[in-house]
Symmetry: C2
Subunit: 362 residues, 2 copies
């Protein structure tokens, strides 16, 4: 691969499009003739204003974000959203229902319990999260302020194959590991958020897409940074934003548009995932724990027959230029994340290795 | 200047050392033969662990940080610290005393009022913050949980020329715009913090240096990200940190060590500030509002005889390759920030321009 780069199957931070990195490198010392790096640019300058506005516009185009939604560029990662969501959204009954489909949903649930009457509406914890539980409208409290889901489960390799029906309740989704990988109907959600470090930009940026009527209800003593209104009123410029990360996100958005937008990216992701799951399904050597219809397009999780062979797989993959394929410590085994920026060549190399490894170690 | 770069006198984000930017550019697509960019690197990888540990070690060396202090790499900027400080530190009397020396101190004070019994111990607001008020031990409540100062006032161009005597009370300092510019005795403070975007790294990183006995007292329902203990227990890796920003900070720390450490940097800053204030003091044309002994080494604030001439100064400076010299909207006039990375050539160019402008417009 160009520049001796490796195929990085990390669950995040993970690969960025090569073209985007090359552009960032090119303009790192002098952005568009301004004589400065984006890293050095005043966030109040006309140049940065253009960067952040263009990034927002491109994201809106890519996801068809309705006009009554705000796009916020924040810091603090998903962890801060675990708190901000209940603090801002529990403004009527102070009740919320969570669907537990993995560690991140559970952490979000545990954090929310500090702020209201939080209930587990459904969970697949008993099976170590190998599937997405079916739910219907009646599983949720009719007066819940919101229903919370983690739409793609990075650790377990599962994904909601359809948007849960919550009736007229507000649906909130952590899309950290799938935003921009597939078309979504934003209007079905009250709030969507994503840490940038999977499909968007370097770590240190969180994107929040939130319906306007959900903003402005935080309690009076809310820490100012944790009130969505603080940021919404000032177009994410209440305080100095993570400028360089936003710039990188903007480059990625533009790159996606050039590649044909989200539908083209989704087609590429489906093709890669089918190739990879196809190879695994053809080999009894590998165990694929996730229920087929709930499989993630982004994180492909499997195990070999033993922990020793798992470790050998990880080691040999690395020797073949494929890094970070080790499963999360709570699951073990192998996890190969194939985010938007993974080239076909990476998946082909992995598939070939998967076959060869099974043959040699069966 | 190399690469057609400009002299950027922005109050932050601002200039970074050219050598650091060049190194970042060089390894942007393949960091030290790993085959990946730091932006793509798993934060749990051995490579990133080395980056963050080395950055912390170098910062500890530079500032002689005692062993009983934690160094935290956080997100959310000074704004999040405005909340985190009272939430974490008001654990006995729930009283704190603030010295108001500018907008940022006042914002911190207003935010703290949400969380306890907060009092203004001294203020120079009546003079639009043109000096640092003198205080003595008796100005502070004897049972205050802490005393808060903003050590360098970016907007007004003032700076504490000595550490206020708070006796055995805990002193907390916002050093966003002076950390690493001068030697400080960390042991005199309970907590020091700085947004990175002045002397340290691109925006999106906040460094907190906090004495260990002040950690672990946040109320139970504190949002998990806002509890210092969350981060201290996990060496700033509770959640995905802003990896690239930390890497850039690390490059700056190493660069500072190479340049002779903080004492050498301070000598350079003093020499540049003397040159600049000297030129201004020699010309009655300019008004220098800040009391001499309280002048900042980092932010040099002055005005011309009229708003029209201020605007002309800003415009002509830009035409001469010196950008972002406009004063903050709450003060007007001119503000030239000369952080660590400002080369002598930039100050020389500015001094020459200051003289010429006065001559031409007197």
């Amino acid at each position: 691969m160009k520049y001796d780069r490796v195929f990085n199957f990390s669950a995040g931070p993970s690969m960025m499009p090569l073209e985007v990195l090359e552009q960032a490198q090119k303009e790192l010392l002098n952005y568009h003739g301004t004589g400065e790096s984006v890293m050095e640019m005043s966030h109040r300058s006309a140049e940065f204003k253009e960067i952040i506005e263009q990034a927002e516009k491109d994201l809106r185009d890519l996801l068809n974000i309705p006009e009554n939604y705000k796009v916020l560029f924040l810091q603090g990662g998903g962890t801060l959203q675990f708190s901000m969501i209940p603090i801002n959204l529990l403004f009527n009954s102070k009740k919320a229902d969570y669907i537990l489909t993995g560690n991140w949903a559970k952490k979000a649930y545990q954090e929310a319990c500090k702020f209201g009457d939080i209930r587990v509406a459904a969970s697949s914890e008993e099976s170590n999260y190998t599937y997405i539980p079916e739910t219907s409208r009646s599983d949720f409290r009719s007066d819940a302020d919101y229903v919370y889901v983690c739409y793609n489960n990075t650790i377990y390799g599962s994904h909601f194959n359809e948007i849960p029906d919550v009736g007229d309740l507000t649906l909130v989704a952590d899309m950290s590991s799938c935003l921009l990988s597939e078309e979504i109907d934003v209007s079905r959600f009250g709030l969507i958020y994503a840490g940038a470090q999977k499909n968007i930009a370097p770590a240190g940026l969180t994107i929040v897409i939130v319906r306007e009527d959900l903003i402005g209800h935080a309690p009076k003593d809310t820490p100012v940074y944790l009130d969505y209104e603080t940021h919404a009123k000032k177009d994410s410029m209440y305080n100095t934003p993570p400028c360089f990360n936003i710039y990188m996100a903007g480059l990625v958005f533009r790159h996606l548009k050039k590649m044909g937008g989200i539908s083209a990216m989704h087609a590429k992701n489906v093709a890669q995932a089918e190739k990879l799951y196809g190879a695994l399904d053809a080999l009894d050597f590998y165990n694929k724990p996730v229920r087929k219809k709930d499989r993630s397009l982004m994180n492909v999780v499997f195990t070999t027959p033993s922990k020793e062979l798992d470790a050998k797989f990880v080691q040999e993959a690395k020797e073949h230029g494929m890094i970070n394929v080790k499963g999360h410590r709570s699951v073990g085994g192998i996890r190969t994340s194939i985010f938007n920026a993974m080239p076909d060549e990476g998946v082909d190399t992995l598939v070939e290795f998967i076959r060869k490894f099974a043959e040699e170690n069966a």
